[in-house]
Symmetry: C2
Subunit: 355 residues, 2 copies
């Protein structure tokens, strides 16, 4: 049905198999730092206009690949499509973050919550299939979802938050309500990701963007336990990546969650992270997106430092430690991708010659 | 000159000496969650009106001690007094965070920067002395400053930031400029804290509120190195506390920085933190401030969990892992302080009886 894969370095690294160079892709690589993205978005009228039209989602997903020799594509979509399909009424006001018209804050709202009809998310699965066809085997396509906890943050807060006061108040005062939300989210995310895999996704990633705001103990019980539930239900013919922003304290339990790859942010030393997780998982990360504002020499130097820190082992997927910033100069991305490929290839040659 | 100290449990815990109960105080304990604070602030006209009038700073510093049997007082002031004295023009707009009229963003601004005349900060030292007299030996008084890096964040950004793009761009593109700012900040903070000690502060705390946003490597070079420089210059007749929000990844090097006490946030397990730092330092923390929104039973249960996690060893100062939230119900603080005292005292008795 789909063309055979030409560049499989990303999938090989996910499985900790040797690759000729360290594969690289960037979180939010299809995004506002690219003028061509902004042009398509203007045509679409809105962010959700882009996400809900498979041909437009396909167009923007492929844009960064036209500029940079990235080793993976990631579905253009939003982590909040699932709660939107639950009927919470997602909107993006001009210049603001996402907002839900019907946040889930009391017993009645929690009782009314259910796994959404996946037909409402057909636009996502259609986009996956459309992108796979458009990629024609160049690089693999990653599907994704928010983690059960991260979705719950938005569902309870109704929007982004500085302090997560509403969702944490529920966590401490009414843990039963939050557990019910999380159980429904876990079931929904599993069904959602399996449908993406069926539609053509060649890897899936769970974004636990807000796991790192939880206290030790609460993270394990309210975030990781439900991510694990998702992973246990997934079609495991494709690799799964779990990325917890601020998840450094819990690398070992995250690595034992059943994912093939663990994403790490820039506060973590790749050398120490690799030591802590051993051969259980591959690691993805972890450049501070702000390095891309430091000029070409700094970008190349920091890329080399990260590659050296991980060292000569299979199982590294180069990435940022968070989504790329909207004001990033595209030339910095070009330098980064070039340096990762060039330096990792050279290091492998030197290392092989030394043996 | 000052009355002898009655309750020395905080100072003893800083030195890892045994105490009858675990001492407790809360970051921002004198603050907006107290109606009497809001009344004084209204009289003062503004936040800086409070901070710059020693009699008003004294009044609000003592307010939480009238309500709760806290084991330490902390100077009421702001971390940005030092850059304000450098001439950056601090202001607090209604309902917004702090702002500098003259941020430090280019070579010329960095060249013009100097250690401020401490006479401009006399109001801080006068407040320290006034508070010491008003405390009359009830509990010790903690003085404080922002860390060199945290001050630099505000000085370069000109205000709070989500992504620290300006200061991190400087870090990666012009590290020489940032190092120059940090060197001046370190010198200024050392002189500032020594003057607080001379005025009567019985412990000092360095708030590295934004250390945790740095990448591994950058944290050591741009934050910890300069905090260490401060500590090396301090009058060590009083204990020093270093608190790095998000500093979990670097507990060992922070514990080796020369401070007697390391503050930790709620992402860190106290048991693991204690194991990592050994007997080198006392630990301060680490309840998630959001626990205080969970109702009395949850507050008491989470307090016991934190105390049990640290275990039966000297050297624990109970605190939150961040400043108390402005909407915190004061009754929750009463329950927390009561539970920390009651449960830690009982645990010591049980533990002693078992020996």
């Amino acid at each position: 049905m789909f063309a055979p894969l030409v560049n499989d370095s990303f999938l090989r690294a996910c499985r900790r198999q040797p690759t000729a160079h360290t594969p690289v892709w960037l979180m939010r690589q299809a995004g506002r730092y690219l003028p061509e993205y902004l042009a398509t978005r203007t045509r679409a009228g809105s962010f959700m206009g882009l996400a809900t039209h498979p041909e437009l989602a396909t167009e923007v997903t492929l844009q960064p690949l036209e500029r940079f020799p990235l080793d993976a594509a990631i579905l253009f979509s939003d982590i909040l499509t699932v709660p939107d399909a639950m009927g919470l009424g997602l909107s993006f006001a001009q210049g603001e973050g996402p907002r839900f018209a019907h946040p889930v804050r009391d017993e009645a709202a929690v009782a009314a919550l259910a796994v959404p009809d996946m037909q409402k998310l057909r636009y996502v699965f259609d986009a996956v299939t459309s992108i796979r066809h458009a990629l024609a085997g160049r690089v693999p396509l990653i599907g994704f979802s928010g983690s059960p906890w991260t979705l719950a943050c938005y569902m309870v807060e109704g929007a982004g938050s500085d302090d997560y006061r509403l969702v944490k108040s529920m966590l401490y005062a009414r843990p039963d309500l939050l557990h019910r939300i999380l159980a429904i989210n876990a079931e929904s995310v599993a069904v959602y990701l399996n449908a993406q895999i069926a539609a053509g996704a060649q890897a899936v990633m769970v974004f636990d963007s807000w796991g790192g705001v939880l206290a030790d103990g609460a993270f394990q019980a309210f975030s990781l336990a439900y991510t694990r539930r998702v992973l246990a239900q997934l079609d495991r013919s494709v690799p799964a990546i779990v990325f917890t922003k601020g998840g450094g304290p819990w690398l070992e339990p995250i690595a034992a969650s059943g994912a093939e790859v663990v994403g790490v942010d820039w506060t973590v030393s790749l050398a120490q992270a690799r030591e802590r997780v051993g051969d259980r998982v591959a690691l993805q990360g972890n450049l501070d997106p702000m390095v891309l504002f430091g000029g070409e020499a700094a970008v190349r130097a920091e890329a080399r430092t990260a590659l050296d820190s991980f060292g000569q082992h299979p199982g590294h997927i180069f990435n940022l430690g968070h989504g790329i910033h909207q004001h990033t100069p595209p030339e910095a991305v070009a330098a980064l991708v070039d340096e990762v490929h060039r330096y990792s290839q050279t290091s492998r040659t030197v290392s092989a010659a030394g043996k």
